[in-house]
Assembly symmetry: C2
Homo-oligomer: 132 residues x 2
DNA sequence: AAGTATATACGAATCCTTTCGTAAATGCAA
DNA sequence: TTGCATTTACGAAAGGATTCGTATATACTT
């Protein structure tokens, strides 16, 4: 069933971001969202989305004149995919080192910090309890 | 003084990893470390390191026949550079979301979890105190 | 029907990274 | 000195991502 989709490239990530927020939509909508962030030609966006459809990253409905594209991969799965790779290549596999850096360098609101603390406590409790 | 060095590529990161561990050393040493991980030609490693020196990522001493290369950028700075970019492009700027995923998906030892909790508590205390 | 606007299709140019073949320089050993 | 091993220098090929020009199709308006 679900099989190996390629890792999205950087430009492809931009498009996925839009689709995750907007849901299934046309090239024009995606293109306009991208244009807010940087200069880019319409056919560039189109081509990219066609390539992504070929790769299996997007699914498209071509029954209407205006094709509707939809992300096949979920945001969470994609983040997970990138994260593993990132931890390995940049932090030599040490997730906790990454976490320390991320917390140190970036702002996190008190609420978010609380949530993270809760998560840690849950992890600690689980690691004491039966693993099986 | 220190100015904008380019973001290292993936292959360049592998070389930097070796140099961060070994300290300043020859192409041969780096090449042998890389060879442990994957098949790669000597001149490939050489060329890459020459390019990196051109870009300013490495510094080299050419007074001896065997040139000695040294990383200009520190591991921590490089991690920070990648992390900002990564949080933006993959996690839409939410560092805490990244932290949650990293903690959830990867193993962290009890000791590491403790360290992270300490850091959070320190951050919480600081955010109450005077920012200035 | 003709003209206009908007859509998709296709191919190619460009740019960057990665790889490596080949040549030239250097040092060492016989 | 001659030959061998090791090193650096250089150029270019190969592969992939990105961009966009141009052609073609489709719908709508007048």
């Amino acid at each position: 069933m679900a099989q190996n989709l390629p890792q999205p490239t950087e430009a492809e990530m931009e498009i996925l971001q839009v689709l995750w927020v907007q849901g299934p939509t046309s090239v024009r909508t995606v293109h306009e969202a991208l244009s807010d962030r940087r200069e880019v030609g319409y056919t560039t966006t189109l081509k990219l989305m066609q390539i992504m459809a070929d790769k299996g990253l997007l699914r498209r409905d071509t029954t209407q004149r205006v094709h509707i594209y939809e992300a096949v991969v979920s945001e969470a799965d994609t983040q997970h995919q990138f994260l593993s790779r990132f931890v390995d290549t940049i932090f030599r596999g040490s997730a906790s080192q990454l976490v320390m850096q991320a917390l140190g360098n970036h702002q996190a609101s008190p609420t978010e910090l609380e949530k993270i603390k809760d998560l840690i406590e849950r992890l600690e409790r689980d690691s004491q309890g039966p693993t099986k």
